[in-house]
C-alpha cells in the first residue's frame, strides 16, 4: 500500500496530523498522562509474572502441559469477565454473575443427565436461563432504579438457592455428554490450529486494509502503515508461537494418550472476542453503551433509550456468565452446589479491571477480559506451585485486584485533572 495518500482539500481545515510510529508513541504517552493507560500494565504484569514463575519453578510452571492447563483453568472466568465488561462499561456491577454461571451449569447438567435432552437443547436452555436472569436484573436496575450493587447482591444470594434447587439434594450432578465435555478437554488437530492462525492474522490484516481503503476513498487521512503493520506482525508471531507450542506433544506419556493441538477453548474464545468487539466498536448499539457509561444524561438527551441499553447489557452479561457456567461444568465433568461460587465472580471482575476496563464506566474492551483473565490465571496457577499455603494465595490475589482497581481509580483522577 502506498503511504502517500494525502487528504483532499475538504478535510484540511481540521489540520490532521499524519501519524507515524513516533507520533503514535507520543500519542500514547499523552494518553497515559491523561489517565488512559489501556492494557499495558496488564501485559507488563503478565510478562513479569510469567518470567518470575518460570525462574522460580522452571520444571513445573513453564511446561506445555501446564500452559494448556492454565488456559482451561481461566476459560470460564474469562467468559464471565467478557460479559461483565458490558455491565462495567455502564458503570454498573453484576455481583451475581458467578452464581448465574452456576445456575446455567446446573440447568445444563440436569437437562443432559437427568432429563436426557440432546446437548444443543440443553446448552440453549442454559443460555436462556442466563438471559432471563439478566433481563430480571436489568429491569430492576433500569426501571425501578435500584442500585445494581444491591440487585445483584440479592441475586447472588438468591441464585445460590436456585442452584441448590435445580441440582436437587443429590449434591453433584455428573455430566457425560461427549460434546459438552469436549469443550474444555479436547484439542484442535494441529493442522486446524494453523488454519485458525491464518484466519485470525489474515482477517485482522484484511479489516485494516479495507478500513484504510475506505478512508482514502472518503478523502480522510489514514494513519501510517507502520503501526498496524507492527500490530499484525506481533499478533502473527505471538499467535504463531502459541499454535506451534501447543501443537507439540505435551502428554506425560505419549504412548498411552497423545496430547497435542491448541485447546478447543481457544478458537471459541477468538470467535467470541471478534463478535463481541464488533458489537461494541462497530455498531450503534455498542456506541450507545459507551455513551451511557460516559454520560447517561447526555445519552438520554441525545435520544438514546438508556433503560433499554442497560437491560440489554445485563442480559448479555448474564448470558455470557451462563456460557461460562457451561465451561465450568465441562471442565469439572459435573456440577455441584459450589459451581460458580467462591472466588469465581471476584476473579472475573478482577480480570476485566486488570485488563483495563474501568469500574467507573465508559472505558473498556472485550480483549481486556482475555488479557486480565490470563494475568489472573497465571497467579492462580503459579502461586500454588510456589507455596501451598492458601492464606498467602488469597492475600496475593486480593492485593493484585486492589492494585488493578487503584490503577483504574488513579487514571480516572488524572483524566479528570487533565481535562478542561
Amino acid at each position: 500500500m502506498s503511504t502517500t495518500t494525502q487528504p483532499t482539500a475538504a478535510s484540511t481545515e481540521v489540520a490532521p496530523e499524519r501519524a507515524t510510529l513516533g507520533s503514535a508513541a507520543r500519542d500514547y504517552v499523552t494518553r497515559v498522562r491523561g489517565g488512559d493507560v489501556g492494557s499495558l500494565p496488564a501485559i507488563a504484569g503478565f510478562v513479569f509474572l510469567v518470567v518470575l514463575f518460570t525462574i522460580l519453578r522452571p520444571d513445573n510452571f513453564a511446561t506445555k502441559l501446564n500452559w494448556a492447563n492454565l488456559l482451561n483453568q481461566s476459560a470460564a472466568v474469562i467468559f464471565i469477565a467478557m460479559g461483565l465488561v458490558f455491565v462495567l462499561l455502564l458503570g454498573e456491577i453484576d455481583l451475581s454473575a458467578g452464581y448465574t454461571a452456576g445456575v446455567g451449569a446446573g440447568t445444563l447438567a440436569v437437562l443432559l443427565t437427568f432429563k436426557g435432552w440432546p446437548w444443543p437443547a440443553a446448552v440453549l436452555a442454559a443460555l436462556v436461563v442466563g438471559l432471563v436472569i439478566g433481563a430480571l436484573i436489568g429491569l430492576l436496575v433500569a426501571r425501578l432504579g435500584i442500585p445494581s450493587f444491591v440487585v445483584t447482591l440479592s441475586a447472588f444470594l438468591a441464585l445460590q438457592g436456585v442452584l441448590l434447587t435445580v441440582i436437587g439434594t443429590g449434591g453433584t450432578v455428573p455430566i457425560r455428554d461427549p460434546f459438552v465435555l469436549s469443550l474444555m478437554n479436547d484439542n484442535m488437530p494441529p493442522a486446524l490450529g494453523w488454519v485458525m492462525w491464518f484466519l485470525v492474522v489474515a482477517g485482522y490484516a484484511l479489516t485494516e486494509v479495507l478500513g484504510r481503503r475506505r478512508r482514502s476513498k472518503a478523502g480522510l487521512p489514514s494513519p501510517s502503515v507502520a503501526l498496524p503493520a507492527l500490530r499484525i506482525a506481533v499478533i502473527a508471531v505471538l499467535l504463531g508461537l502459541v499454535v506451534y507450542l501447543f501443537n507439540l506433544e505435551r502428554a506425560v506419556n505419549p504412548a498411552i494418550k497423545s496430547l497435542k493441538g491448541v485447546p478447543l477453548i481457544v478458537p471459541i474464545a477468538v470467535v467470541f472476542v471478534v463478535v463481541l468487539s464488533f458489537v461494541l466498536k462497530r455498531t450503534r448499539f455498542g456506541q450507545h453503551i459507551y455513551a451511557v457509561g460516559g454520560n447517561a444524561e447526555a445519552a438520554r438527551r441525545a435520544g438514546i433509550n438508556v433503560n433499554r441499553i442497560k437491560i440489554a447489557c445485563f442480559m448479555i452479561s448474564s448470558t455470557l456468565a451462563a456460557f461460562g457456567g457451561i465451561l465450568l461444568a465441562s471442565r469439572a465433568n459435573s456440577v455441584s452446589p459450589s459451581t460458580g461460587g467462591a472466588s469465581t465472580l471476584l476473579l472475573a471482575v478482577g480480570a476485566a479491571v486488570i485488563g483495563g476496563t474501568s469500574l467507573f464506566g465508559g472505558k473498556g474492551r472485550i480483549i481486556d477480559a482475555i488479557i486480565g483473565g490470563l494475568v489472573i490465571a497465571v497467579i492462580q496457577n503459579g502461586l500454588p506451585l510456589i507455596t501451598q499455603r492458601a492464606e498467602i494465595q488469597f492475600i496475593v490475589t486480593g492485593l493484585v485486584l486492589l492494585l488493578a482497581a487503584s490503577v483504574d481509580a488513579i487514571s480516572r483522577r488524572r483524566a479528570a485533572a487533565s481535562g478542561r
Binding site: 438527551r301 465508559g362 487533565s418
Partner: protein
C-alpha cells in the same frame, strides 16, 4: 411594548420563530405572563433577564421540554405544536445546554453524531461521520482541533463548547439556542466561542443566546430581549442601547423611555 419588538429587528422579513402572548404557570406561580418574542434568520437574539425572570422556562417551552399554557407559537409563519424535544428538533430547533451534554469518553465525531449515528447496514459508517464532522467544523472555521478523533475528555472548555455548538449545527438546524455558552470559560476561549456564535448567525441561522454577561451580549447580539418577572420588558437593537440600559431593563424592567411603563407595572 409590542411596538418596540416590531421595530427592533427584522428588516421586513418574516420571523423564523414568533411567540405571541406566551403564558406558563407552575401551580400558583405565573412564570411567563404574556411574552412576545421574534427571532430572525441570520440574527443573534440575546435573551437576558435576572434569575427567575423566566428565561429557562421560555427556552424549555421553545425546545419542547415544557409546553406553554397559552399563547401562539409560530415557526416559519405557521402555528406549530411543540410538545416534545423531538418535535422541536424535527422543526430544526437545537438547544446547547449549559452542562454541554457531551460524553467525555467518546471522540469528537461520536459526540457530534451521538444518538444519530450514520450506519451502513448494521455497521456504523465511520468515514461518512468523520467527513461530515470535519466539514461542519470547517464550515464554522473551527481550527483549534488537532483531530476529530480526539476524545472529548482531552479538550479545553472552549473546545467542548465548540463541539456542542457544532453538533447543534450538524442537523440542518434553523434555530440554535445557546444557554450561557461562555459561563465557564476564560477570556480567550470566550472570544473563540463568541466568534463562533456570530458565525452561526452569519451563516444564516437564527440564534438565541442566553447570557448574564453584558459584554458578550453587546459583542455578538443583534437584538436584545429583556425579560423581567415573566414579561418581556423590551426588545431592542443591541447597538441602540448601552450596557447600563440593558442592566436597568433586567433589574427594573425599564430604562428611561424603554421597557414596561411605570404605571402599567403598578396597575398589574
Amino acid at each position: 411594548m409590542t411596538s418596540d419588538s416590531v421595530s427592533a429587528a427584522g428588516d421586513g422579513q418574516q420571523p423564523l420563530l414568533s411567540l405571541r402572548g406566551i403564558t406558563k404557570s407552575f401551580g400558583a406561580v405565573d412564570v411567563l405572563k404574556g411574552v412576545d418574542l421574534d427571532c430572525y434568520l441570520g440574527q443573534v437574539t440575546a435573551l437576558v433577564g435576572d434569575n427567575g425572570a423566566g428565561k429557562s422556562t421560555l427556552v424549555k417551552g421553545i425546545a419542547g421540554t415544557h409546553t406553554f399554557d397559552g399563547g401562539e407559537y409560530l415557526f416559519e409563519g405557521r402555528p406549530v405544536n411543540v410538545t416534545s424535544p423531538k418535535a422541536a428538533s424535527d422543526l430544526g430547533i437545537e438547544v446547547v445546554y449549559q452542562d454541554l451534554a457531551l460524553c467525555d469518553n467518546l471522540d469528537v465525531v461520536h459526540n457530534m453524531f451521538l444518538g444519530r449515528e450514520e450506519t451502513n447496514g448494521i455497521v456504523m459508517d465511520e468515514t461518512t461521520m468523520e467527513r461530515r464532522a470535519q466539514e461542519t467544523l470547517a464550515g464554522l472555521s473551527v481550527r483549534t482541533l488537532k483531530s476529530v478523533r480526539t476524545s472529548v475528555s482531552r479538550l479545553s472548555g472552549g473546545q467542548r463548547q465548540t463541539i456542542a455548538i457544532a453538533r447543534a449545527v450538524l442537523w440542518n438546524s434553523k434555530l440554535v439556542i445557546l444557554d450561557e455558552p461562555t459561563a465557564a470559560l476564560g477570556v480567550a476561549q470566550t472570544e473563540q466561542v463568541l466568534n463562533l456564535v456570530r458565525r452561526l448567525a452569519d451563516s444564516g441561522l437564527a440564534v438565541i443566546l442566553i447570557s448574564h454577561n453584558m459584554n458578550d451580549v453587546k459583542q455578538v447580539a443583534d437584538t436584545v430581549a429583556a425579560l423581567y418577572l415573566g414579561q418581556l420588558a423590551a426588545t431592542v437593537r443591541a447597538e441602540d442601547v448601552t450596557t447600563g440600559q440593558i442592566v436597568e431593563l433586567i433589574t427594573t424592567g425599564r430604562s428611561g423611555e424603554l421597557g414596561l411603563a411605570a404605571d402599567r407595572e403598578v396597575l398589574r
